[in-house]
């Protein structure tokens, strides 16, 4: 773990607290930025013009500016649509731009960019370059906003400091703030950074806010982002803004004192936690042009004038966006994403890199959309891009920024209706093929000919398709796609439409994901719908100031008085400024009525296998050492309890009562009728008996180092554990190394080693329901059972996994574990450390509510389903993902949107009852093409994997495999139908909607996963463990496991953006998993989440070898090495930085394995090249042919 300091997954309890205390400044600024985030329904426009407020929202509306901007925008839009008409709907693959470019374009250096690259080309030119996308640009990408809210900011209102632990799940330290997104596929945070947005941002959002938030603390103050960023804009901004700032100035002083006062003047009113961030709000505006002032509220009065005075022309930027809070919603929100080059999001270093305003668009999607085949392509795709462009090809945004740089927020809203009508037009013209094709492009309905397109995999991970909600909710923050994702981003309006599309409908949810900044709220009453108990969320309708309409059941509810209190402006009135309305992910601290019993303490029980095989494996030493080291880090409060049980043929209890100086072992011989030898002191308070526990952990490995008996009474030990834990609930951690063969729950070896590669896989079902029943008992007693299977022989995981599956535990599997192998010991240490220290929620339940008309069909994951929409989760961990299949029971045609809300009620390790609520809203699709083009292929694969596992168990492996293939066939048939393409095999092409172009690739990869492969020898336990992973991994990890990332690392240097001199973060493009991408003079890194295989080919340059591995010749390179030589050279540092970066977004660091291409074990690498043919399975091309033949 040492190389992972900033891992967002690492939750160090307690640390966050420190963070919030030490870094109030940062949060202060962030918070300010959030103030304007409210989305006000039209009815509330301007309702609250509070003189006290320091919020820029309250500036007087500048309607003139708005209208001007609006016109400009429209103009662009209409102009833009014309070229589209000339464009064929389908582009030859090379134009589509999926093929790799040799290098990811070098990052633009921040310093040079800021002043020079004028983000705002003249309108006319912007028009040229961005034409066809102008339309989409009007939709602010909701998920971006979302993410920002979740990841970047402390809760706007409720500071984390009080509720230390849960608020900040992530790495605690300020500098860590920027980290999490670094390598995550959808990094968000750096979005704020790019100065361009600043230009458009109201003073509040100002530059200070961006950098402070995310930048490493050090560099921040030194950057003078504001002025530079703004200046270039001036020429384009005809408006004179300065005066607008003046009201601002008066605001802050007034509000300053108010804010600094005790945060809760009125305790009966919604009780928000104290607000460390507040000072920042005040501060925010001043920051705009003068970064240094950021540092303290005290500076405010002095610094405010500069913005207006010093830079009079900037005024318009800041001031103008917010003429009317009601209309515009949050300037920050809107201007952020738009102005930002989508690209800059990913970079932690984002702020400096200002790539933002460059006109180019994303490499992958952009060209097809924008490209009128001729000239336009050049300008757009040609010029060097910011290095993230490939990854975030949301050209609309960048366009938008180009066209109306200073402008902002209100555009999207106003534009929307117009586009909406355009869409109608599109449909009307459906028959005119040329027109239609043009519009197809306009609307992102392109097709790809899979057979022609050899480089189908985008070089950099793509965003999931954006969710575009209707008018009123265009700007509402939707839930982050990392947390909540739907297989189709526009829900088909009827079940028959869904059937026609042949897509699986479902949602994937990662409810307890570690979040860096999560708004936490404590209030007397949690506002919920009285009929369906939905929590109030950003997608509700406000009927008037006093009532709201539930977005799930449409009941009109009263709004409690306190909900109208805006803690930011300290005034009553506008309910939309509440954090509940501003964030789609929120956490409540639950009042007493959410508890059936007092919150339970954290109770941990460890069940250790000490049979002969276990002793041979030596795992006990590793586990005890790790546990001893992490004892302090175990989440919990003063009540935390801990206990140990060892078992072989008998059960050994450890009594750690008060008077003892050493733990006392008590062995119970009778395993058929388990009892507890002592009513107490088997589970002891960790704080009080820490020394005894440490003593025990030191003694245990020696105690069991001598040869033991070859018997394992796991069943009996579990029963004992249940008896011990039942009164409190808690977590049982089982280490098992062999088949339990005595006592209750004894199992027989079922696997036939000769049938490991056969077509039909038997014994995927449990042999007995003993473990399942036990798990159900545990679940009822709020006990979760986690299983670490470190087996060296068949252990019937399909049966054993039952104990975790139904008690919401987790299964960890390290096959052939031997502690002597250092890398395995390290892997276990990392795994176990993460396991011990991560956040944990006890006695949890999760309810998923859907808009009326949609019901949950099946749940996937580890839990017990207690009623149709309620999951019982004795423990919930941040690494657990869930899936739900949905069915449409009633027509949704009269609805605007469909919402899902997942509410997770849990007890934190500090004994607080909390509710985490995630809400996602999706629009409705009425036509088949709409449905197909709104598909989220990654999410679909995630859901299909889960469904296929179920199918394997309930039917058979071959049926599941067939079903997977049929998905591809059916979907492509549906697409053919939708597009009226020539029937049959007459056409030589296999067309897929762009949104589903990777589906066949992923499906093929899925078929070659351990879980589903046939024909290759696979141990049954490995297969079952893989199936367990499929069911429970969150989507990002699952995808990586299904289709590993392959990076060329021989040219890391060329792919290293250099804006931070101290911290290189190489960012090579991904390659498709095919041997044709492997050059004999290259070196590659294949990352499947579990292992990073570094594959070095024989002809690689000696310079690379010496620079990276410190050897002079290929022959000196160690084969099968599990560690990389750490030498002091640039190449080595780069590779290490790259590996660290990859490790950043996963729970614990992956193994590293170095393989040479002449090694006997290179099979490990080559078998993962899933595009290629292996003896018994299709290659990608063959698979496409197969699919094509079946497509009707």
């Amino acid at each position: 773990m040492s190389n992972l300091p900033p891992n967002p997954y690492n939750n160090i309890p307690g640390a966050p607290q420190a963070n919030t205390h030490t870094g109030p400044q940062m949060f202060a600024n962030q918070q300010f930025g959030q103030v304007p985030l409210s989305q006000l329904p039209p009815g509330f426009a301007g309702l609250k013009q509070d003189a006290n407020s320091n919020s820029p929202l309250h500036l007087p509306p500048s309607t003139a500016q708005n209208s001007v901007l609006q016109n400009v925008n429209n103009y662009n839009q209409s102009a833009s649509s014309s070229p589209a008409f000339n464009q064929p709907g389908m582009l030859p693959p090379q134009q589509i731009g999926f093929q790799p470019s040799p290098n990811r374009p070098p990052t633009v250096k921040p310093t040079s960019v800021a002043p020079n690259s004028n983000p705002l080309p003249p309108l006319s030119s912007a028009n040229q370059s961005s034409v066809s996308n102008a339309n989409s640009s009007s939709y602010p990408p909701n998920f971006n906003q979302m993410q920002r809210q979740i990841n970047d900011n402390a809760s706007p209102i409720v500071p984390s400091s009080q509720y230390n632990q849960p608020l900040m799940n992530g790495p605690p330290s300020g500098p860590a703030g920027p980290m999490p997104p670094t390598s995550s596929p959808y990094p968000v945070s750096s979005k704020h950074f790019s100065p361009p947005p600043m230009a458009m941002r109201p003073p509040s959002g100002g530059p200070g806010f961006g950098p402070v938030q995310q930048g490493p603390p050090g560099p921040v103050p030194t950057k003078p982002p504001g002025p530079q960023g703004l200046l270039p804009n001036q020429p384009n901004i005809p408006f004179s803004g300065p005066p607008r700032n003046s009201p601002l100035m008066s605001g802050p002083p007034v509000s300053g004192p108010a804010f600094n006062g005790p945060p809760m003047p009125n305790t009966t009113i919604g009780q928000y936690a104290p607000l460390p961030p507040r000072p920042g709000q005040v501060n925010g505006p001043s920051v705009l042009n003068a970064p240094p002032p950021t540092t303290g509220p005290g500076m405010r009065p002095a610094t405010i004038p500069p913005p207006t005075g010093a830079l009079p022309r900037n005024g318009p930027g800041p001031g103008q966006p917010m003429p009317n809070p009601g209309l515009m919603g949050n300037p920050n929100m809107m201007s952020g994403p738009q102005s930002l080059p989508a690209g800059s999001q990913g970079l932690p270093s984002g702020p400096p890199s200002l790539p933002g305003l460059q006109p180019q668009m994303g490499q992958q999607m952009a060209p097809p959309m924008t490209a009128p085949p001729g000239p336009p392509i050049g300008p757009m795709s040609g010029p060097p891009k910011s290095n993230m462009q490939g990854r975030y090809p949301q050209m609309p945004q960048s366009n938008y920024a180009n066209q109306q740089p200073p402008m902002p927020p209100q555009q999207p809203m106003k534009q929307y209706p117009q586009q909406y009508s355009t869409q109608g037009l599109t449909q009307q013209m459906g028959q005119l093929s040329v027109t239609k094709q043009g519009f197809d492009q306009l609307w992102g309905h392109q097709m790809v000919d899979l057979l022609q397109c050899r480089h189908i995999l985008p070089e950099y991970p793509e965003d999931p398709p954006e969710i575009r909600l209707g008018h009123q909710f265009t700007e509402s923050p939707n839930c982050s796609p990392d947390i909540f994702r739907c297989t189709i981003n526009r829900i088909p309006e009827t079940n028959s439409l869904l059937q026609k599309s042949r897509l699986p409908l479902g949602i994937l949810i990662h409810p307890f994901k570690d979040l860096n900044h999560l708004p936490v709220i404590q209030c007397a009453t949690i506002v919920r719908c009285r009929a369906c108990r939905t929590y109030i969320n950003p997608f509700v309708y406000f009927v008037d100031g006093k009532r709201w309409k539930c977005n799930l059941c449409y009941r009109v509810n009263d709004l409690p008085e306190e909900f109208q209190y805006d803690p930011v402006s300290k005034s009553y009135g506008d309910p939309t400024r509440r954090p509940e309305i501003k964030s789609a992910t929120i956490e409540f601290i639950a009042p007493g009525e959410y508890m059936l019993r007092p919150p339970q303490p954290a109770v941990y029980l460890f069940l250790l296998d000490v049979s002969q095989i276990a002793r041979d494996s030596g795992y006990l030493q590793v586990v005890c050492d790790t546990l001893k080291a992490q004892l302090e880090q175990l989440p919990g409060d003063a009540r935390t309890q801990i206990g140990f049980i060892c078992y072989d043929a008998h059960i050994h209890y450890y009594l750690m009562s008060d008077g003892l100086t050493r733990p006392k072992e008590m062995t119970v011989l009778d395993i058929d009728d388990v009892f507890l030898p002592s009513p107490e002191s088997l589970l002891v308070n960790l704080g009080e008996r820490r020394e005894l526990v440490k003593e025990l952990l030191t003694v245990l490995p020696q105690r069991y180092s001598t040869p033991g008996v070859p018997a394992s009474a796991l069943g009996a030990a579990l029963q004992a554990a249940y008896k011990l834990m039942a009164p409190t609930g808690g977590r049982v951690t089982v280490f098992q190394t062999c088949l339990p063969n005595v006592g209750p729950g004894a199992l027989q070896a079922r696997e036939d080693p000769n049938a490991r590669s056969s077509k039909e896989v038997a014994h995927l079902n449990p042999a007995t329901d003993f473990y399942k029943r036990l798990a159900l008992d545990c679940s009822g007693a709020q006990v979760a059972v986690d299983l670490f299977l470190l087996n060296s022989q068949y252990s019937d995981l399909s049966t054993l996994s039952g104990m975790s599956k139904f008690s919401a535990g987790t299964v960890y599997h390290i096959p052939l574990f031997r502690a002597q192998r250092a890398w395995q010991a390290e892997q276990l240490t990392r795994m176990f450390t993460r396991y011990l220290t991560r956040k944990i929620g006890f006695e949890a339940v999760m309810r998923v509510r859907c808009t009326r008309g949609i019901t949950i069909h099946t749940f996937h994951g580890n839990f017990f389903v207690r009623s149709t929409d309620l999951l019982s989760l004795p423990n919930v961990s941040p690494d657990a993902g869930f899936g739900m299949q949905l069915s449409i029971e009633e027509s949704l045609s009269d609805l605007q949107q469909v919402c899902f809300q997942a509410a997770l009620l849990y007890t934190s390790s500090k004994g607080e009852r909390r509710i985490r609520v995630h809400t996602i809203a999706l629009p409705i699709a009425t036509t088949l093409p709409d449905v197909l083009h709104a598909a989220d292929q990654q999410c679909i694969v995630g859901l299909l994997a889960k469904m296929a596992v179920d199918r394997c168990v309930s039917a058979s492996m071959s049926e599941a495999r067939e079903a997977l293939i049929n998905v591809a066939v059916d979907v492509l048939s549906a697409h053919k139908l939708a597009q009226n393409l020539p029937a049959g095999s007459l056409s030589s092409a296999l067309h897929a909607p762009a949104s589903l172009r990777l589906l066949p690739l992923y499906l093929l990869a899925l078929l070659k996963r351990k879980a589903f492969r046939t024909g290759t020898s696979t141990r049954l336990d490995d297969r079952v463990a893989d199936m367990c992973d499929m069911k429970t991994l969150p989507l990002s990890s699952l995808l990586r496991a299904v289709y590993p990332d392959l990076y060329p690392i021989h040219a890391l240097h060329d792919h290293t953006p250099r804006e931070h001199d101290d911290e290189p973060s190489p960012d090579p493009p991904r390659l498709q998993l095919s041997a044709e991408r492997i050059n004999s003079n290259g070196a590659y890194l294949l990352d499947d989440g579990e292992t990073m295989i570094i594959y070095v080919c024989h002809a690689v340059s000696p310079a690379f070898l010496s620079d990276t591995f410190g050897v002079t010749a290929f022959s000196q390179l160690p084969d099968d090495a599990r560690t990389l030589p750490r030498i002091d050279s640039e190449g080595s540092a780069l590779l290490q930085a790259f590996i660290d970066k990859l490790n950043d977004d996963r729970p614990y660091a992956s193994n590293v394995l170095l393989i040479k291409d002449n090694s006997p074990s290179r099979q490990v690498f080559t078998e993962r090249l899933v595009d290629d043919r292996v003896e018994s399975a299709f290659s990608y091309y063959e698979f496409l042919q197969h699919v094509k033949n079946q497509v009707k």
Partner: protein
């Protein structure tokens, strides 16, 4: 008018069938409760599972009577249900106790709808066969 064995079987069948009707009503209600969240699936399965085998055996018993008394028509009508019962029980989930219903999979929408539909169909079948047995009994009694 004589009281013969076929008449006896019909009378028994009528009584047993009344029980079967009650069983299936209970079944339907139980699944409805599950669907509307009134009951915990574990409890519900615990109350349903012990009734499965008795129901099957009762049904088998009256058919045995029909077989012995040579009431081929009534037997024929029941054979599909017997086969279905055998199939159903042989493909039940792995469980140690008697019964069909597994609390972990019963909340699956597919399983739930299948079970509910099964309950209604059986209820209808038992009701119809009740009248059939009544008719059969009268016919047998009159013929004798």
């Amino acid at each position: 008018m004589a009281f013969n064995f076929p008449a006896f079987s019909y009378i028994i069948a009528l009584i047993v069938d009344a029980f079967l009707i009650f069983f299936s009503i209970f079944h339907v209600i139980a699944f409805d409760e599950l669907k509307t969240d009134y009951k915990n699936p574990i409890d519900q399965c615990n109350s349903l599972n012990p009734l499965v085998l008795p129901e099957y055996l009762l049904h088998l018993f009256i058919n045995l009577l029909f077989l012995l008394s040579g009431e081929w028509f009534s037997l024929l009508i029941n054979i599909p249900l017997i086969l279905y019962h055998i199939h159903r029980y042989s493909t039940r989930p792995v469980m140690s106790g008697p019964g069909l219903y597994d609390p972990t999979s019963i909340m699956n929408a597919d399983v739930l709808t299948v079970c509910q539909r099964e309950g209604w169909i059986k209820l209808a079948f038992y009701l119809l066969s009740f009248f059939l047995y009544l008719y059969g009994m009268i016919v047998v009694l009159i013929a004798a």
